[in-house]
Symmetry: C3
Subunit: 116 residues, 3 copies
């Protein structure tokens, strides 16, 4: 099976396609400072939509998602955006855990695996 | 490859099957209050057995497992149940890390990828 | 699709191959005591190279990597070794989060999925 990489930097690629499976990097918000958890989540989900489109996929084809929250008490705030975004009948397997992220302004990070 | 979802709610699916690969959601214990780490682990592994059966798989076909413990000092307690349950000669790749989980009563969460 | 397991112990396997996809366990450093984050990272990446070779893969075929740091403030130290190791043009999807690991001497753990 072929491997195709997109948005490839020296440290990581944002998109890696192996056969029919699409692996995205953990996505954080752009310009996170002063953005709420809900605002960061919405920004992340927009970015994921864009990456999936580049990969020839979309959010109805997400297989699995890992969500990291810098503060687990923001679970409901994150879900307020997730629940609006995730397509009914096509929801992925998911796990949400608390973890400090690469820099303090980041409150949410989401990493998904999708089908092409 | 086809995508099949089972135990699908508005936020996530417990089981997603993509071709020959089965993705389960992070599983936590039912009625976790007053259950020890070992008791929660046993309950989670029972649930995973059930989900794998629904997906046409079983615990001899688990490829990879991520285990999250709210308190890493309970590593041995979790393993006391894991080691009894996991089939010798068919053990998966595994990583165990500490992470606060969605609500305080949850002490363990396990997310697996299996073959069908 | 066939499942092949290597370096299989009673608790986990270090290498699980399912069709064209290779799942490695979370790898930590050998003899971690007194090793810096950079030293542990270099040791882990050497181990991953060895496991990928056993699986018939190599670091140009890594699809996705999860990196756990016991202290996220060591992010740059870990990357100092990662950036030297990861092959330009073949970088994987990646997420790095803070998590306490199975025992205090471990400062870094890396879990990868690769193509065969």
């Amino acid at each position: 099976m072929t491997i195709q990489r997109m948005e490839t930097g020296p440290r990581m690629s944002q998109i890696v396609i192996h056969g029919d499976t699409v692996y995205l990097a953990g996505v954080v918000a752009n310009e996170p400072a002063d953005k709420s958890v809900a605002q960061q989540t919405k920004n992340i989900l927009d970015t994921i939509d864009g990456y999936l489109a580049k990969a020839g996929s979309d959010k109805t084809k997400i297989l699995s998602a890992q969500i990291f929250l810098a503060d687990i008490s923001t679970f409901a705030d994150m879900n307020s955006e997730w629940d609006k975004w995730v397509p009914k009948g096509h929801t992925p397997a998911r796990a949400t855990t608390e973890a400090k992220l690469a820099a303090p302004p980041y409150k949410v990070e989401i990493m998904v695996v999708a089908a092409k």
